[in-house]
């Protein structure tokens, strides 16, 4: 039996000219829909998890660890000063492949306003970074105020704030909301210093120059950016870490390794160089394993859906026993008949894939609108129930499916093309595997037994 004859027979199994509403045909259609529907959550979950991981990774790499980090440490003979750090940053900038280099002093403190206090991760950096550094400029959104310190417009309130003697700080959106701060408001940072073996607190007042957000509440809840020179004056050397952060064109390229060694050679004594993947190894491994686990769990749904193909093809082979017997009387082989049923199963899986993949992608791309729509419907119903119970509407608190105070402001979506290709290939392989036993069974039909029964 030739391939062409198997294809012709499979064509009539999938697209019969008569008895289009047979039970087996309905089962095949059901299997196709099941696969399609099971693929939708898989694609959505993969796109969202990919978006989250990409978002978090790009922010951690771009805004926190940077691509390469040169950590400095003090020794008895050598103490790092602000001038040394700036000069090291300048020196490293000259290395081929480095696109940006800036010094940073990190420490912790307590941010305090009239409303309350909260812990803060103090990052002392040249504040020009917010306009001059590609990552800072693109990944931070200025919620309020102005980050352009160099040339503020003459009469703006931000300009007034910046020009005051009180140093300027840029703070994360969540910390600002916790402390009820606006652009131009004043707040205090409480840091500590050791004087003659005693811990002494130090209070420094700052003006909020801008409220910024990187989109991730966890990071926005901690960061307070202050000028580098101010950092050196308020953060104790023993409780802070000074480093030079370096950016390259592509942190995922092999070139990073070369630049890493060049930096190591040039950084000199009392320094240690780290790549971004060394600094964030735990997060990165956690993201990867979460992604694989999610994909596996969601793929189980597709596996269950594929079982429908098995039962649909068993039904189809029973329904088409007569045709199988006739074909065998005219020279059809076991393998040829089995192949026709495999093609049928494959086409059912492919149909499900062609249905589920675009639907899943459409759902993913519009997930924020969908969540908003569901929220609106839920709130409409909940408000109605609330009023029906005799309550007044002003007392009603809205339902939020995605609480921005918890983690995200928006659901990030990044289409994982490689994973989608793996999912597609996996789905087709699964459908082939599910079709195998019914196909073999169909190939084993005996014409004589069939003719006696029909």
């Amino acid at each position: 039996m030739t391939l062409l004859s198997s294809v012709l027979f499979a064509k009539r199994l999938v697209f019969p000219r008569i008895e289009k509403q047979s039970s087996a045909r309905r089962s095949l259609l059901g299997a196709l829909l099941c696969i399609g529907i099971s693929l939708i959550p898989l694609v959505v979950v993969m796109s969202i998890s990919n978006g989250m991981i990409e978002g978090i990774t790009s922010r951690i790499i771009g805004l926190s660890s940077s691509h390469l980090q040169v950590n400095t440490y003090n020794s008895d003979k050598y103490k790092w000063t602000e001038k040394d750090l700036i000069s090291l940053a300048e020196k490293l900038k000259a290395i081929d492949g480095i696109t940006c280099s800036y010094p940073e002093l990190n420490g912790t403190g307590l941010a305090s306003s009239a409303k309350g206090r909260t812990g803060a991760s103090i990052r002392a950096v040249p504040l020009e970074l917010f306009t001059q550094n590609k990552s800072f400029a693109s990944l931070f959104t200025v919620v309020e105020g102005n980050v352009a310190l160099q040339e503020p417009s003459a009469n703006s309130p931000e300009a007034t704030a910046v020009s005051n003697a009180v140093p300027v700080a840029f703070i994360g959106q969540k910390i600002a909301s916790e402390l009820d701060l606006k652009a131009g408001s004043k707040f205090r940072l409480i840091t500590t210093r050791s004087v003659n073996g005693k811990i002494v607190p130090r209070l420094t007042t700052f003006t909020v120059g801008a409220i910024v957000s990187c989109g991730y509440q966890e990071l926005d809840a901690l960061w307070v950016f202050i000028p580098l020179e101010k950092g050196f004056s308020i953060l104790a050397p023993e409780g802070s870490s000074a480093s030079v952060k370096l950016e390259v064109e592509n942190p995922f390229s092999q070139d990073l390794e070369r630049i890493y060694y060049a930096v190591q050679r040039k950084a000199g004594k009392n320094t240690r160089v780290y790549r971004w993947d060394e600094l964030n190894v735990s997060e990165y491994e956690n993201f990867s394993s979460t992604k694989v686990l999610l994909m596996f769990i969601m793929f189980l749904i597709v596996l269950v859906a594929s079982v429908n193909i098995f039962s649909a093809l068993i039904m189809l082979s029973m329904e088409r026993r007569r045709e199988i017997a006739i074909l065998k009387c005219f020279g059809a082989t076991k393998a040829g008949i089995s192949f026709s049923f495999l093609i049928t199963g494959f086409l059912t899986g492919l149909g499900g894939l062609l249905l589920g993949l675009p639907a899943g992608l459409m759902f993913s791309v519009n997930i924020n609108k969908v969540v908003l729509f569901i929220e609106k419907i839920l709130n409409f119903v909940a408000e109605f129930v609330y009023l029906f119970k005799g309550n007044n509407l002003p007392g009603y608190s809205e339902i939020h499916l995605l609480d921005p105070a918890y983690y995200l402001q928006n659901i990030p979506v990044a289409i994982p093309f490689f994973e989608l290709a793996v999912i597609s290939a996996g789905t087709l392989l699964l459908t082939l595997a599910a079709s195998l036993i019914p196909a073999i069974k169909a190939g084993k039909e005996k014409p004589l037994e069939t003719f006696r029964k029909i």
Binding site: M1, T2, L4, S5, L8, F9, R12, P16, R17, I18, E19, R322, E323, A325, I326, L327, K328, C329, F330, G331, A332, T333, K334, A335, G336, P447, L448, F451
Partner: protein
Amino acid sequence: MMNNLIEIRGLEKTYVTSGEQLTILKNLDLSLPGGVKVVITGESGCGKSTFLNILSGIDSVTAGSVKAGPYIVSDLDEDSLASYRSSFLGLIFQFHYLLKDFTALENVYMPAIMAGASKKQAEEKARELLNEVGLANRFNHLPSQLSGGERQRVAVARSLINDPQLVLADEPTGNLDPANAAMIGELLFSIVDRYKKTLILVTHDVRLSALGDLHFTVKNGTLVETGKNL
């Protein structure tokens, strides 16, 4: 002996049902040269169809050997049987057994495509055969759109598509009215004659018996020659 197309020696067929043995065919020997038209008659249940089923490889033998052309049918595995049916045999049944989702043309050319012909070649040959059985205007009709006689004519055309040496017909007119039965019978004999095929026909139709070269009847499980028109 060497030139015989069919050589059957000591054929026996026994069915075991509910512990009981029922021997349908026994000690059956037959030698047939190529190109003859054989008619087999006999009472219902005497084993005529079983004999054809064994010869076509649809049923197996209990004992003995069946040789058709180069094939020792009784020894063939399933894949070799497929090749035997595809290249050596043409089958016509009492019921037409056409594929319900395939048009008349497709029904005729499917065995040719299964045998390895290109679609173009197969279609060309199928058109030619359908023309010959008088169905030139029915190429694209489904079996459900054809009359009983027309369906059986499609079945006759299909049996010849792979240019088989042997055509086996099991009561091909059994389901037809007398007029159609006579027409199909004559058509079958004339077309087999024209293409110089060997025909073994099982029938109850007395008029068809007269058209054969050799007449046999199945008696006590074996074939008994009852007449010759050679």
